[in-house]
Symmetry: C2
Subunit: 449 residues, 2 copies
Amino acid sequence: MSESVPAPTPESVRSCDLLLSARHVVTQDAERRVLDHAAVAVAGGRVAAAGPRAEVAAAWRAARTLDLGESILLPGLVNAHTHAPMALLRGLSDDLPLQRWLTEHVFPVEQHHTPDSVRAGAMLACAEMLRTGCTCYADMHFFSAQSAEAAVATGIRAVPGEAVFGFPTPAYADPEAALDAARAAHERFRGHPRIRPALAPHAEYTTTPEMLQKSFALAEELDVPWLFHLAETRRETGDCLARRGMRPTAYLDSLGLLGPRACLAHCVDISEAEVRLLAERGARVAHCPESNMKLASGVAPVPALLAAGGVVGLGTDGPASNNNLNLFGEMASASLVHKAVSLDPTTLDAQTALDLATRGSAACVGWPELGRIEVGGPADLCALDLNVPWMQPCYNPVSQVVYAATGAEVRCTVVAGEVVWLDGKFTTFDYPALLRELENWAKWVLEKV
Amino acid sequence: MSESVPAPTPESVRSCDLLLSARHVVTQDAERRVLDHAAVAVAGGRVAAAGPRAEVAAAWRAARTLDLGESILLPGLVNAHTHAPMALLRGLSDDLPLQRWLTEHVFPVEQHHTPDSVRAGAMLACAEMLRTGCTCYADMHFFSAQSAEAAVATGIRAVPGEAVFGFPTPAYADPEAALDAARAAHERFRGHPRIRPALAPHAEYTTTPEMLQKSFALAEELDVPWLFHLAETRRETGDCLARRGMRPTAYLDSLGLLGPRACLAHCVDISEAEVRLLAERGARVAHCPESNMKLASGVAPVPALLAAGGVVGLGTDGPASNNNLNLFGEMASASLVHKAVSLDPTTLDAQTALDLATRGSAACVGWPELGRIEVGGPADLCALDLNVPWMQPCYNPVSQVVYAATGAEVRCTVVAGEVVWLDGKFTTFDYPALLRELENWAKWVLEKV
């Protein structure tokens, strides 16, 4: 304890639930402070204190203490866009264009989905995200209540968006039933500390203007995010021009749907004027670089969006087009691909990449207090083990997090103050049982192909 | 055991040193066979058999048996280009252009290198590579005998290239002394089963034509690879045009150095004609996509090189410009960036990416029997644990290896028949002691900045 810190009197020592200490704490607070030899106290699911280890340890009596030793403690990452249940389809088919992949490989299996299969895929996805330091995700899938159930069971935080289409789906013969399902999910999870159901109309090419507007009106009524795929490919733009006489971004704006409530995944094929429009409207953009690369959709103009003052988060997209839900890899890919495309190595530096996956994604999913370690904010955390060879030596923790970490060295994940993953074990659910269950679901998928 | 397999008679059962079994064996043989429920028998550091588990187990009596269960066994990956000792500088500075990064951040530290500091960095690098399934690397650094010593100590296979410059270095006041050092290393490790010293002149802009030709003549005399940086950036091309009146590839060809002995790292700024020339000459290209992206050098025309019949391997480049030595991430990055740049999702598919990091890299480092599991070939192997969430389900092992694996799920690495990494422990050296030693080396680096 440094001498400048007054010794706490017995009365001034307060109780907390959990005290975590680590070699480095990357706070992602407003000043982007990185604390060395630091600790975080957690009480009631929130951060009670963050500061020098000796000070925090002296001021707080913890029910449980975790000394994470040579590690980097940082905010849990936030996945701004995914389709968690698609984990069941990981690696089923690759190296194909988006439309062929969707219509010949993905949709033929997905039409057989039941609530049980959706839940199984979501359980696997939640396990993967928690295991790799992601503590909150925004989802787009039908049977969204099942994704929410998986989030409840595993302990992750979630914004499960009910997918809305303009045609019947495996979930609903009547498209409007998706809106009823979203309303029911909202009622069911009202007040839940970790689950905030949302609306998630799929895309311009799979919906009607009426369904988009109805879903947006419901999102406004319930005050929840409105998640949407926008301008993913040049083909989408061409088709939209032919169908609506407008490019996708203009189409959305013409319907009055371009605003801070909208979390727009991809935004690859957007013009300079559209970059400015998205920033002016305050729409959130969920950047999915690995999926956009893998499907050869292109590279979203994220540096331009950021320069224009746009709000940008990071998403993995579904695990069938990535093929993982790992935001550590996604941060590195984001930084690297934008440097390669711009031919400027200062583009999207490590701090910016980390900002995307924390504060940016938090804004995207409508939960802006996430993605930082700040007193009073949610205690969503992850810790990276520095003892693996690729994390040595550690001169700059932010650089290490973005350019060296794989995500697999996450040794501890905390959501809302609960330790859900620690040193090889999930504490919230029976992972070996899930693995056994997945063997049968994999057979089920292969029968449907 | 299937009924079609005759029960071996006692006389027909042969002895081997090691028998590994796994759910999937990705052989990377000429037919790219993937065997399910398979086993590999190892004797005398070489593959004695590979086939259905029951058959192999019945035919071979093993001194040691490792049942790797739900895992993918594949050839150890080969890193075609790195600077292993730079592991000491990992994350020291990022987000800078190549020349500023080299001259203002890297060279100022590297001028203080001693054999001990080079060895410490190489030890860390070898640990990282073995830990992430890489079993052989080609290196370019001065004090190459120290890199070789680290390879000997850790158990990895190595092609340590003695860096040759046209001016004095921390290693040699007289540039020609590098040639003597290379010759001495060649003598010292003559006949070593895992170490094959090589020549590694740095680049056009750091050497003279005379030194290039002398180093090449020595490589020919000793019959070892000649490693070189070629056409990494547009700036290199411009400077070379100004200095030599030729582009770098033409310059190398004019000196008679463009052939199968040359392993040329980067080859980013090469024209269509140069693609054809490299292929025609049979020169090997070490593709380093992550370093090229991070330093914003651009994207090498690898699909065109492959289409022209060129020989291409995969390298990480040094861990200070990557910032890791992980070939699993490198395979995914290679596939993704070429899809993004070509806007064609069929570009550089999973099998091609795996070919680069195995058979392609093996050709690059002058050890063409590596990078495959074939009877009679070296027993260099790694096994990926399928029980981690991101490796589930596994429909296509090659897709899983390239698009889902992080490299951290490697649970077993075997080099020349020796198990060097298994379930959390290195068997060949004291890793905790290395970690302690690195604390002091990190302080040493910070003193030199």
